[in-house]
């Protein structure tokens, strides 16, 4: 019985010196441990990125504020964006994928366990390198030279002429290194899903989480590589005298923009698709119904993946492309709203006719549905290029993408934490604290990001360390800052919940939510080998079939 094995393991663990435990964790190739490492790493950077955001918002609380200098402010928004995308969102989503995918497809580990560890440590090194920039290198402005070129590092601002010292290089090399880590993990996810599914699990019987991570991994492979190429080119410009983006030598600043956004746009789908995966697992279980339209959900995701590779220049509507090029990108951007909308409708269809339980994972997903709807609609507004000529590069855009990333992705992530924490640790998170976390965070989120749309409509551009009084921007900036503190408190409650429940939470058992996918068939936490014997499945919900032998899914699929 695996629980006996676990008891022996735990007893041994209790008497081992901490150095040995540390060594085990540092040298692990187990997908579950690497998943946890990714998640913990990302949580640390979430706090750091949040502090950077707080500094930004305090500076912008009132016009002509002098909380920080412009130099520091410019480093703050650059580091905030870069950190949140590359060292919070990507690692945490890779972490969940790492932990869950093998369990959900009935495998014992990922296809390439050592490559898995390699990918994690490369990402970790990248984060360390980026933050070393605060103390390393030399810059024109004295001690500390974190990059200040914005997270998309437009040329020629990043050339040696305009970015003296090494701050731009820290940005470039840190992301180059972690980019290799991301590509490694993506290769691993694809190979795992295609080659390690348990018997009977045809692709059409995989949990949606597996499908969506497959599409995400494919996008990482096709999208991160252009960024790698562009960063190599930038380094050649900066150190070997190259002229890729050297406008004085006939080079093109817009070429960098194209290359960056060919990465940058699919990147945001890389971030949202795993969030969709969480919603697609949680909403059915708490509605007590299977996902509505499984094949359509798969098809829509694949469509999003493909179309997402063709929309990049909607970030460049203002750079002076001709009307035909602009119209093309308007069309593709509007087109991608169709499969995305279909997914929202399918989630609603799942809830329709169900018996919804308002447990914490579910209420976070309901918040996600509302907020992602709004974010998608502001995206449609910006897909209308002439409208984007006003809205682009203003606080309207900042509001839009925070609505997607915080209101969409982070809410799904919180839901995923409450849903799978019991599986990972064996203990349930506290429901009351969870609901408090949700409501406080929702209030803070809406205070900040609902308000943020308005200064954009009133002419406030982004990336400014201060602004003129009397333009109608002050009150909204103040409200936004207040909301940040509310979100901060809510996040602290969440962290407290994590810590308290880890030590004192009620035992979860194998299957606290009465769910239907394979990870709920093993103990919580799972044994190191996942499954004592590899399962065989006959439908999309193997545990439903076990629990309802009189009415299994396999009769209907």
């Amino acid at each position: 019985m695996s629980s006996d094995v676990l008891a022996i393991q735990n007893a041994e663990a209790a008497s081992r010196p901490w150095v040995e435990t540390l060594h085990e964790w540092v040298t692990t190739v187990d997908h579950k441990r690497l998943g946890i490492l990714y998640i913990l790493y990302a949580l640390v950077f979430l706090i750091i990125g949040g502090i950077e955001a707080t500094i930004i918002r305090i500076q912008l609380m009132r016009p002509h504020n002098d909380f920080v200098s412009p130099q520091v402010f410019n480093r703050m928004f650059t580091m905030h964006g870069t950190t949140m995308i590359f060292f919070v969102a990507m690692p945490i989503l890779f972490g969940f994928a790492n932990y869950l995918v093998p369990l959900m497809i009935g495998a014992r580990d990922m296809a390439f366990p050592r490559l898995n560890a390699f990918g994690f440590w490369l990402t970790a090194l990248g984060g360390f390198l980026l933050y070393f920039s605060f103390v390393g290198g030399s810059g024109l402005y004295g001690a500390g030279s974190a990059p200040d070129v914005g997270w998309f590092a437009y040329a020629p601002l990043t050339s040696r002429a305009f970015s003296v010292g090494h701050s731009a290089d820290y940005w470039t090399i840190a992301l180059l290194v972690s980019g290799f880590g991301s590509i490694s993990t993506a290769i691993n996810i694809i190979a795992t899903i295609l080659c390690m599914r348990c018997p009977g699990m045809k692709l059409s019987r995989m949990p949606l989480l597996a499908w969506l991570n497959l599409v995400m991994a494919g996008m990482v492979i096709l999208a991160v590589s252009p960024l790698t190429a562009a960063q190599i080119m930038l380094s050649i410009d900066r150190y070997l005298g190259g002229h890729f983006f050297d406008t004085q030598a006939g080079g093109s600043a817009t070429l960098w923009m194209h290359f960056f956004w060919i990465f940058g746009h699919p990147e945001v789908y890389v971030l949202i698709i795993p969030a969709f995966a969480f919603a697609s697992e949680i909403i059915p279980v708490f509605s007590r119904k299977p996902i509505f339209g499984y094949p359509v959900m798969v098809a829509a995701t694949i469509c999003i993946g493909f179309i997402g590779l063709s929309v990049w220049a909607h970030h460049m509507f203002t750079i002076g492309m001709n009307s035909y090029a602009n119209s093309f990108f308007v069309f593709t951007t509007m087109a991608i709203a169709v499969p995305t909308g279909i997914k929202i409708f399918n989630w609603l269809g799942t809830m329709w006719g169900g018996k919804i339980q308002f447990k914490t994972p579910m209420i976070f997903c309901i918040g996600f549905l509302l907020q992602f709807l709004i974010a998608g609609l502001t995206g449609v507004m910006m897909s209308v290029a002439p409208f984007d000529w006003q809205l682009g590069n203003s606080y309207f855009v900042v509001a839009h993408f925070h609505y997607v990333i915080v209101g969409g992705i982070l809410f799904c992530l919180f839901g995923a934490f409450y849903y799978w924490f019991p599986k990972i640790t064996g203990r349930l998170l506290n429901e009351t604290l969870g609901k408090l976390h949700f409501w406080l965070f929702a209030i803070g989120f809406h205070l900040t990001f609902d308000s943020m749309h308005i200064p954009g409509l009133l002419g406030m551009p982004r990336r400014i360390y201060t602004y003129e009084p009397g333009r109608g921007w002050e009150i909204w900036n103040l409200i936004e800052t207040i909301g940040v503190f509310v979100q901060g408190i809510a996040t602290l409650i969440f962290v407290a919940n994590l810590v308290l429940s880890y030590f004192n939470g009620p035992k979860a058992g194998n299957d606290p939510w009465d769910a239907w996918t394979l990870e709920w068939s093993v103990s919580s936490p799972p044994p190191v080998y996942n499954f004592a014997s590899i399962p065989t499945v006959a439908s999309r919900r193997p545990l439903w079939d076990l629990k309802h032998p009189e009415d299994p899914d396999s009769h209907y699929e």
Partner: protein, 198 residues
């Protein structure tokens, strides 16, 4: 509830999934292709846009011989793999060595060409847009050839030590796939630089 999952009714028959080495290498090839595509796009975008300095037409000489070497090495590596499958270790090693020699010859040719361009024509990576894009693209490819040669040499080393047999066929196959990719990239680079770009 125990951790063992009760097998479900219905034996699905022979459950065969692709070899993960092949899938992993295919994914890597996709990623690398994306990187090369960006360098190719930059090259084509900047054709004719240099503000000064030598032009491709003035200085480039088509490396026919060395291209033939590299492309032949794809043939030799392919047949080497087939021989290994059939257990003909000696013949496998011979063709494997030939692959490495042909690849090394290609690298030598690249080095020779670069020497001529730098010292006779004064074309470096910082001279003009042509120099930047040419050395980056050809250099990136040469880097991948080098990496491939290193991996081929590692296999050669183990082969000479008697440790490579038909059981390692699948893995050797994965490496050959990489080598074929490197050659395919050269076909594209050759066309772009020596045919279209002039």
């Amino acid at each position: 509830m125990s951790a063992t999952t009760t097998p479900l009714p219905g034996i699905p028959g022979a459950w065969k999934l692709p070899y993960r080495g092949k899938v992993g290498m295919a994914c890597l090839i996709f990623a690398e292709s994306a990187i090369f595509t960006i360098f190719v796009v930059a090259y084509l975008f900047y054709v004719g846009k240099s503000l000064s300095g030598p032009t491709p037409r003035e200085v480039l000489e088509t490396p026919i011989f060395y291209t033939v070497c590299l492309l032949s090495s794809s043939l030799t590596v392919h047949f080497a793999g087939k021989l290994l499958e059939r257990g003909r270790r000696g013949a496998f090693l011979l063709l494997w060595v030939l692959t490495i020699v042909l690849g090394a010859l290609f690298l030598y040719g690249t080095g020779q060409e670069w020497h001529r361009l730098i010292y006779e024509h004064g074309l470096t990576i910082s001279t003009n847009l042509f120099g930047t894009t040419y050395y980056s693209l050809v250099g990136l490819h040469a880097f991948h050839v080098t990496a491939g040669l290193i991996m081929l040499s590692i296999v050669l080393f183990f082969g000479l030590a008697g440790r490579v047999g038909p059981e390692q066929s699948a893995r050797v196959d994965v490496l050959s796939l990489y080598w074929h990719f490197v050659d395919a990239v050269w076909v594209v680079v050759f066309t772009v630089v020596y045919v279209l770009g002039r």
